[in-house]
């Protein structure tokens, strides 16, 4: 292995590298999905894998998502570690029955005798000008399904580390890849033994004392930007990147909110019945007497994801986050 200089890599490249390293490390790892082989996936995340490991290890399947996940269940029953690609968020819906009724329940059903180490990669979220059904944020469905881990990276390094950890997990992981961060770059040395991030730990991306922004995936960079902008208003915002929605890192989140006394949950997914409700509720349960204001939510509207030309109105941006921070009852302070 030759040493290369640390250079910027995209999140997509880090994901490819994670798949490649996982396949090299463990012959049980199999990649499967629509167009993942010859084409390398519509986002090129599986680029080169079929060539390097052969079509038996990186397989173009027929076009049927329930079939893909259902056969992956059988493969996992026989000891393989399938990594399944769903081409877009909304195209995972045909596989819901397999996901909810089997993937999430097989270990429990068999009292631990038949675990299913399946990783389900789902490119999710909007902001890429996709037409209908190409921009859904479907994490609420996965969060509400016991038996699944739900993981989503926001940085290039986490994309690598969390995907490795997900593939290594003996339980099924829904691995949500924020589409619009695929081409985001970061200085990251792909030749360094990259850390395999443990699943279930949130991270404080930016410390601050005024209020906590609780967020994940595609909204992390937006929150970082908002935190920068907030300085002009005199607010010093802390940004917590959840990284894993299930398990949920109550410890890190609660510690932050107890410190700041105020919190806003930020995500692209719709607000009603979305992840923010759960997060706000549990933060409030745990930090009630530390809260100066109710935990607020900045989220997508409760509408089907809009068409490309209108999506900017839907996505939670810096202004909306700052508006919410402004409503955190600062007068209570004085």
């Amino acid at each position: 292995m030759t040493t290369v200089a640390v250079k910027p890599a995209t999140m997509a490249q880090a994901l490819t590298r994670a798949l490649r390293d996982a396949m090299a490390a463990d012959p049980a790892v199999h990649v499967m999905g629509e167009d993942v082989g010859t084409l390398g996936g519509v986002f090129r995340v599986t680029d080169g894998l079929a060539k390097e490991f052969g079509e038996d290890r990186c397989t173009d399947t027929p076009l049927a998502e329930a079939g893909i996940l259902g056969t992956a269940v059988g493969m996992a029953m026989y000891g393989l570690r399938p990594v399944v690609e769903m081409q877009f968020d909304a195209f995972a819906y045909p596989a819901f029955e397999q996901l909810i009724s089997h993937v999430a329940r097989m270990r429990n059903r068999t009292r631990g005798r038949m675990p299913l180490p399946i990783t389900i990669r789902v490119p999710y979220g909007g902001g890429i000008g996709g037409v209908e059904h190409h921009s859904d944020s479907s994490e609420a469905y996965y969060m509400a399904t016991p038996g699944l881990h739900v993981v989503t990276p926001a940085t290039v390094a986490d994309a690598y580390g969390l995907l490795r950890a997900s593939i290594a997990s003996d339980d099924p992981v829904v691995f949500l890849e924020p589409k619009r961060l695929y081409w985001s770059k970061d200085s990251w040395n792909p030749e360094e033994p990259a850390p395999v991030e443990p699943i279930g730990r949130a991270v404080v991306r930016r410390s601050g004392r005024s209020a906590t922004l609780i967020t994940y995936g595609p909204s992390v960079p937006v929150c970082m930007e908002a935190a920068e902008a907030a300085r002009a208003e005199g607010w010093d915002l802390e940004v917590v990147d959840l990284r894993s929605l299930v398990p949920f890192d109550d410890e890190t989140v609660s510690a932050s909110v107890r410190r700041t006394g105020r919190a806003v949950v930020v995500h692209e997914s719709g607000s009603f019945g979305g992840p923010g409700g759960e997060i706000a509720a549990r933060v409030t349960e745990r930090c009630f007497h530390h809260l100066e204001a109710p935990v607020l939510r900045v989220a997508g509207f409760d509408v089907p994801y809009p068409p490309p030309m209108l999506e900017r109105h839907h996505l939670p941006g810096v202004d909306r986050i700052l508006d919410a921070v402004g409503r955190l009852q600062w007068e209570a302070e004085s």
């Binding site: 629509e34 010859t38 076009l63 409760d302 068409p307 030309m309 839907h314």
Partner: protein, 381 residues
């Protein structure tokens, strides 16, 4: 007499002396795709129909080229072209009566336009100003359907409903070779056959589902062979032979209208362009293969037939081209105008009446836009 009675009362499960419920033989497709152009059958084809098909094919080809060009100019977000598949697109629209319904897949804007929908409205989804631009009821065209094969049960349900109401309506549903692998394909065909619904399923087997070739999609003798497993006839047709596609689809529509139930038609064709403008087809197929299919081009096949029989001359060809250019110019001009957008549309059609929650959110966005407009010194468009 109800529809349920019409299709025969409940018969008990076959007793030990077993009888097939339907004779499979007539359901099986022929071994060779049906062809008209360049065969003896061509002599019987109506010259007017052939000329009309030709004009539509030429226009269709030009439409594909124009739409692809619009993606380069940023006027369309994306365009899945049907270059090479125009015979199927055009014939699917032409075989239907006004009262019939067309159920297109995401790729079939050309069929939608050929059915009479305004080309700009047909492209709304792909331009990105809204999901569906046209009123489905106006030309009886369902919205372009992005989740593959999910439109097929809709077509079955609509055709069944029409029959229950006593209306003489046929639904024609389009799907790709890849789409046949989805569970919805199976369930739709089964419901259609059990209900004897007046539906025609047109599978455009264009060789690929994005990068995945047919050989990785199915091991069946042909996709048309799937029909027998539902108890409906399967028909195999050369999808680049406009006259053949028109004839086979017309027969299937007539059969459905007469109460004969559904038909599955597989049209063998080829996607000459990449999957969409965003796709790089060289990653998964060679030029040689594409060239083979250019030889078997639907326009060329029909042109050869028409000129050979003296039904078309240089002037006719030129006239068709001119027509197509006029259409393209008009499309270009219309698409160069900016879409008219109303952000309030986000909230206004989620329910018949917005929920209290949506009213709050709408007010929030309106306030934001007003503030934005004010700070820009302008007014809210």
């Amino acid at each position: 007499m109800t529809v349920m009675e019409q299709r025969g009362a409940y018969k008990p499960t076959p007793p030990p002396a077993w009888q097939p419920r339907t004779d499979p033989a007539p359901l099986l497709p022929d071994a060779e795709p049906y062809r008209v152009l360049g065969t003896e059958a061509a002599a019987k084809a109506d010259p007017e129909l052939l000329r009309a098909l030709y004009a539509q094919l030429v226009k269709g080809r030009r439409y594909n080229a124009q739409a692809t060009a619009l993606t380069k100019q940023g006027r369309l977000a994306v365009y899945p072209s049907t270059t090479g598949q125009e015979a199927c697109e055009v014939a699917a629209a032409m075989v239907l009566q006004e009262r019939d319904w067309l159920f297109p897949s995401y790729r079939d804007t050309l069929a939608v336009v050929a059915r009479g929908v305004d080309p700009v409205e047909a492209l709304t989804l792909l331009r990105g100003d809204w999901h569906t631009g046209y009123d489905p009821h106006e030309h009886r065209v369902a919205p372009l359907c992005t989740p593959l094969a999910t439109q097929l049960p809709h077509a079955v349900g609509l055709a069944h409903a029409a029959r229950l109401k006593g209306d003489d309506v046929v639904a024609l549903a389009m799907v790709g070779d890849g789409g046949t692998s989805e569970g919805d394909f199976h369930e739709a065909l089964n419901f259609a056959a059990v209900w004897q619904a007046p539906v025609v399923f047109l599978v455009q087997n264009n060789g690929f589902a994005i990068s995945v070739p047919l050989a990785k999609q199915t091991a069946a003798p042909s996709l048309a062979h799937k029909a027998v497993g539902y108890g409906m006839p399967g028909r195999l047709v050369d999808g680049n032979d406009a006259a053949a596609v028109h004839e086979v689809l017309s027969d299937a529509v007539r059969h459905a209208r007469a109460g004969g139930g559904p038909t599955l038609v597989e049209a063998i064709t080829y996607r000459v362009d990449a999957h969409t403008n965003a796709d790089d087809a060289t990653r998964y197929r060679g030029d040689a293969e594409v060239e083979t299919w250019r030889e078997h081009d639907p326009i060329r096949l029909l042109e050869r037939e028409l000129t050979g029989r003296g039904l078309l001359d240089e002037a006719g060809i030129e006239a068709a081209r001119q027509d197509a250019e006029t259409m393209a110019a008009a499309l270009r001009e219309q698409m160069n105008q900016d879409a008219v957008l109303d952000p309030m549309d986000l909230f206004d059609h989620v329910y018949a009446e917005p929920t209290p929650q949506l009213r709050e959110q709408r007010d929030q966005l309106r306030a934001e836009l007003e503030a934005e407009a004010e700070s820009e010194g302008g007014t809210h468009r």
